[in-house]
Symmetry: C2
Subunit: 197 residues, 2 copies
Amino acid sequence: MNAVNIIQPQSGAAFELKKGDVLTVIDPKGQQVSDMVVFNRDDTKEKLSAGKTMDFEESILLTKGNFLWSNRSRKMMEIMEDTNGRNDFLLAPCSPETFKIMYNNPDYHPSCLINLYRNLQPYHIEIDDIPTAFNVFMNVQFDAKGKLKVLPPTSQAGDLVRFKAEMDLIVALTACSAEDSNGGTFKPIHYTITHRD
Amino acid sequence: MNAVNIIQPQSGAAFELKKGDVLTVIDPKGQQVSDMVVFNRDDTKEKLSAGKTMDFEESILLTKGNFLWSNRSRKMMEIMEDTNGRNDFLLAPCSPETFKIMYNNPDYHPSCLINLYRNLQPYHIEIDDIPTAFNVFMNVQFDAKGKLKVLPPTSQAGDLVRFKAEMDLIVALTACSAEDSNGGTFKPIHYTITHRD
């Protein structure tokens, strides 16, 4: 058994993976979202690219068999397993401005962007350089005209997405802070890392 | 009459706009795509964000009345007019790897990413820092499962998209180099700039 790492509600974590390591992101209670960003461990100017991923995978939704690509057109991760089946890159990580502008809430509110940034500080990544995240378990619905709507995730307790690292990586993950992403509840995210033999 | 600036087929241009200036991007022959990236003129770490734009505008497709947003959650441009009505952020600018990986072409091929980069060199913007572009006139179709398909643009000769700068900006534009974006033809893009009174 691999140790289960717990990301508390409305918080985040960052860690390194070696090429070949397997990361499993788990929704332990159901209906929670995790934002994930990924950087090349040896050169953090190379990072996850929403546009390159949708381009090479020819899909807005990404699931088992799809790869996540970098801004240098290289594979960063492979999705090996996905028991829920809804993940995308459509919306940027919630930020302080998300709550001011979209929720009309002028007060302090935790956010994925700040949680990603704080956890990435040991790796000297600036907040402006955090890319659009891979939205694990997020249920963004779109109609034929492209209108977007965020619904509670379809994920149930224990659903998971498993990723294999295609290069040495820095990964940051959150347990999402936004009410709309998870049906108004805040829940933890769990993850495990299996090291390559 | 404002001077018409011509971007030759498979090339690009970069220029500055002052807050309030109006940029008109014109498809002079029809069925051509222009990739556009935008930076805050006074701090190029602030730049166009596909994720923030789709998030705040709640739409994959962007047209008249929509704003283009930065990675700092600020409005960069307003779309004032759009005679064609199909623009998106779904695919990253075509790059040398696009032609190697998706077109199975190992030889040299011009690309929007290199044309953006070369034209942005006077502004000291690194290639890794070029964001996913706003795909003006691009006809990316998606089905309910999110599968993507690039069709020739629906734009006809003279179609245009007009943008108002919401802050002082550096803008780079291309006449797209990719066969799939424009039905296998390569054509110019025209643009005009109207300065605020």
